[in-house]
């Protein structure tokens, strides 16, 4: 029992780490993240761009759909095919993730074309290559995210003994991952290299908002270069956050008792909170000054 829980925790942590990286890259390939609002704003302040404006929904709902669809298909196939658990689940998850990737591509293309059509007043052109170049990339990342989240749901259901059905676990994992990638990953979009000459913490003026969608190191920025950059930092940071969340949660069950697990998790959360508060205080004192909010 102990060994199964340990194996489950390790597998869950690994899959969550990978899912975090892939989800962050998917959102950056489709600008569904922080600069999404800037892609939307950019043409309005004459920053005409060559970005793929995926705009399916917020990251949490769309990832919940990808994970729930892939996991539902995987579960149905797994129960129908009658293979052994491991090959059955993997085969089911691959088929489920494939269907999910196709659906994501359709939703993303519709959103991109329709949003550009709504930008007529600002003379934003629709460049087909801006859609067709990042589309397979974004779909591939969605495939990998859905695959990892589906396998993770089976691990949580099977090895870690969660009583909830696999599609429900997958949906909640999708919500969680979307929320984490939207808050953690999007900070590291590459804005930091673009705005290094501004005073730390001074915020970005509205007139500079669209810069992030237009100016690359050389030529125009595009939705393929962005994941190339974010894969070095934003992706792993998102993966680390989601991976740690799942791993610590899974590991806390090893004690066997529910309440010990709850207390352990509470202690870990308190510890993380204290570290974060001190880190932020240190950063503000070291790299400030900030003006007092009024």
């Amino acid at each position: 029992m102990f060994q199964i829980l340990l194996l489950g925790s390790a597998l869950a942590g690994l899959l969550a780490f990978l899912a975090g990286i892939f989800e962050n890259e998917d959102s950056d390939a489709g600008s569904a993240s922080n600069p999404n609002s800037q892609v939307q704003l950019a043409p309005q302040i004459e920053h005409l761009h060559r970005y793929y404006n995926k705009a399916i929904a917020g990251e949490p709902p769309q990832n919940a759909l990808w994970a729930a669809l892939a996991a539902t298909v995987a579960y149905i196939l797994y129960t129908r095919i009658g293979l052994d658990p491991v090959p059955g689940v993997i085969l089911g998850a691959v088929v489920g993730a494939l269907i999910t990737a196709i659906l994501q591509g359709m939703y993303g293309s519709l959103a991109h074309i329709s949003r550009i059509a709504s930008m007529k007043n600002f003379k934003q052109m629709l460049y087909w290559d801006c859609l067709l170049s990042p589309l397979p990339l974004s779909m591939a990342y969605t495939f990998l995210t859905a695959l990892c989240l589906t396998l993770l749901s089976f691990v949580i259901h099977g090895l870690l003994g969660s009583p909830f059905p696999v599609p429900l676990i997958a949906m909640f994992l999708g919500f969680t991952l979307g929320a984490i990638a939207s808050s953690t990953g999007d900070v590291h979009y590459g804005a930091e290299r673009l705005y290094q000459h501004y005073k730390f913490g001074s915020g970005i003026a509205i007139s500079k908002q669209g810069d992030i969608d237009v100016k690359g190191e050389y030529g125009y920025r595009n939705s393929v270069d962005t994941p190339y950059f974010t894969l070095r930092f934003g992706g792993p940071v998102t993966g680390l956050t989601f991976g740690l969340l799942i791993f610590i949660d899974a590991l806390s069950r090893i004690s066997g008792s529910v309440w010990t697990s709850v207390i352990l998790e509470f202690l870990i959360i308190a510890l993380i909170l204290i570290v974060i508060i001190f880190l932020e205080k240190y950063t503000r004192n070291r790299y400030g000054p900030f003006e007092e909010g009024k």
Partner: protein, 250 residues
Amino acid sequence: MSTETPGTSGGPHIQSHKLFIVSMITGLAAIFLQGYTGTYVFILIPLIWPAFIGSANGVRSLASYGLGTGTSSIGYWGTAVGATAVYTGMLLGMNPIVEIAIALAGGAITGICAQKIIKMRIPVMIRESAILAASTAVIIRFLAGLFPEQVTLLYPLLYIAVTLAVLHPYNGSMGAGENQRRTLWLSGVEASMTTAVFGLVLLLMAPSPTSAGIILVSALGFAICIRGWYRMVKNEIYGMSWTGFPPAEH
């Protein structure tokens, strides 16, 4: 759907209560005829699309008050009320009309809370959230009725797939040049995509002519709606080209 005339302004505005009445009539008819059509249940699929279109219009009416990223939240929230009412009703064995009435009331109550407690100051809040909850309840009740077994397994997917189909048309078309007709055509496209997905899930669960029929009817609806939508896009877009650089910067 009477969205024939393409144009930059999108033509006359379709009022949301009219769309709601149409979607309720066709949606309830679809739910009640489900028991009598047997294998040919797929012919009822087009009857459920107006409910998608009505819900998308509800999201549009609410979100066009400048909600921006709140568009997703509106979709979540309205569908959550509808889905909860239907799931509770199905577990307790209620009549579909009672479930939809509960959803309508639940939507109105959440609308009142948003208006009076959170003070969102959106004049159409109560009406549109009631419409959104009831329309999504009709959709989910119909889709759940297509599956012979293991329906509870599909509850998460039913909820989240309908949420996306309902919030995406407006979210995907957002911008200064957005107009109702293009958004509703897009809603038709996504309604047929969603019913096709459930046809596919049914095909995997219990292969039968019914599931193949659902996919075919949905594909037909998709082909019709995407033509209508793309025609409007071509009329309204500033320009299209294979590649190039925006003139402003170069």
